[in-house]
Symmetry: C2
Subunit: 301 residues, 2 copies
């Protein structure tokens, strides 16, 4: 299960009533935060979420609306009582840039481990939960993230009893190791079903559409994508500023075959993004903007 909170829907500048775009994903007591613009710590409080469990902060790029909230958040995480290490993932030079910002947050009660993105692919994993990245086209190096929660195969308890495997050995087989029962070697394949689909959330902001991103988001359960402008007449502005129209995000969602598209990162010049939702839905029907939290669960299988 993944609990997904979009902490804001703003792009460029924080506004009264519209926090900047940032994503919190919680899973099994841990939390991953993607992007941290000015005010993200206020948005986390407003959403009723905690700070102590934030173990990974991932940054798409180093424009201020995606990172300026970091020193304040790091201090607040410290005040929450965290002492376990915290990992900060980001483009090249992430350590140097965050260290600059930490001129006003030099002392923290937990260590920070930097993980610098050098190429597309996996960047972090902890058990079944993992992060991977894909470069996107923007003014400066910028990456889309995919949060994946792997699902283990199903254990066939009836089969295990039939094979007289003691219950104490079941977890060994579930973990992928073989066991010996009455002189017989039992391999996991004897009691485990086929691989099952996990959950995937793709988060992509500050970009022009591209084939690499479409392939990266393929079949995701949720595609959270920027839609800087709703009005299709702003196409040239979108190209100039390296951002997307709603309909361009919807087109990528349709081609990637995702289950749902959640639009965000709205221009401050667009007070009512919902006015343009019908045009996005004409391209990809399962598009939405009007949620703050979504829970994704494994499908029965």
């Amino acid at each position: 299960m993944l609990d997904i909170n979009l902490l804001g829907t703003g792009g460029m500048v924080p506004l009264p009533g519209r926090f900047l775009t940032a994503l919190m994903i919680r899973c099994r007591g841990a939390a991953i935060l993607i992007d941290c613009g000015e005010g993200t710590q206020v948005a986390i409080r407003a959403a009723g979420l905690g700070f102590k469990q934030i173990g990974v902060i991932a940054l798409t790029h180093f424009h201020a609306d995606h990172i300026a909230g970091l020193p304040g958040l790091l201090l607040t995480i410290g005040n929450s009582g965290r002492t376990e290490p915290l990992t900060i993932v980001g483009p090249q030079y992430v350590g140097q840039i965050v260290d600059c910002l930490r001129v006003i947050a030099p002392q923290l009660p937990y260590p920070i481990e930097y993980r610098e993105i050098m190429s597309d692919g996996p960047v972090w994993a902890d058990g079944p939960l993992s992060l991977s990245v894909q470069a996107v086209e923007h003014w400066i190096p910028c990456y889309a993230y995919k949060v994946s929660l792997a699902r283990s195969a199903k254990f066939n308890a009836d089969k295990a009893r039939e094979l007289n495997i003691p219950v104490r050995s079941w977890s060994v087989l579930q973990s992928g190791a073989a066991v010996e029962v009455d002189g017989r070697i039992i391999n996991p394949g004897a009691v485990m079903g086929p691989a099952r689909k996990g959950l995937e959330v793709c988060y992509a902001t500050d970009l022009r559409p591209g084939e690499g991103l479409v392939r990266f988001a393929e079949n995701a359960d949720l595609f959270i994508c920027e839609g800087m402008y709703g009005d299709p007449e702003l196409y040239e502005k979108a190209v100039e500023h390296r951002h997307c129209l709603f309909t361009e995000a919807a087109d990528m969602a349709a081609r990637a075959g995702v289950s749902a598209l959640w639009l965000t990162h709205f221009s401050p010049s667009m007070p009512d993004p919902e006015n343009y939702l019908p045009q996005a839905r004409a391209v990809f029907a399962n598009t939405f903007i009007d949620q703050t939290g979504v829970t994704l669960r494994f499908q029965d299988a």
Copy 2:
């Protein structure tokens, strides 16, 4: 006239519904901002104030709740169309520290001039408007600010006509220079009345009470002072964290003989500061907390 907006009343961390403490003072089309914590640019928008006219940003000290909003604000001031220089005043190393934070705001359409405070006294002036500072007791170097608007002496037009001074020479006399009329030297003293009291606002936050501050705030029209804790039972905590009780701020206001005391910088643990206002008023009657904007005008004289 000074238009004074307290942009928030929070201390330590920004909260939903409570912006961090920062002060905007506007005078004759220009604006001075004192302190700039995370979210101050949002508070400026929420107050309906502009960005372009901000020509001076003064920092009391370098704790994050007083400076973390700076890179975002500098970018937003740039987006507002400002090209005139902007002065940033602050304790020693202000240039180095702000330059670190500007790792995410490297390109601005206006130059920044740093003015480093090295000792108590005047730090900036532009015509009748000026800033001076006084060191206060905190964890790290921290200064109180006084914004002063000088008032010119009154011009006696009847007297000027009586002396046959042409109207075109009046402004010369008003500026303090002498003029020659029909071979006579007329000095300003001939037509200008006595010096008149200007306006003074003292802003002091993050400190323990002290005699230096009381003298600095003497006779101010408005004393904006931190009151981190309302509950007098938190005295030891106030001493430990180098902050003030409401009653301590009120005591300084009474001893300084200020006209009014505006309390701010409330602890996040104090959701209802107004509950403690009566105790402050018992020490200094003209204490308030429930305003966002105040306009100070010259008294007739």
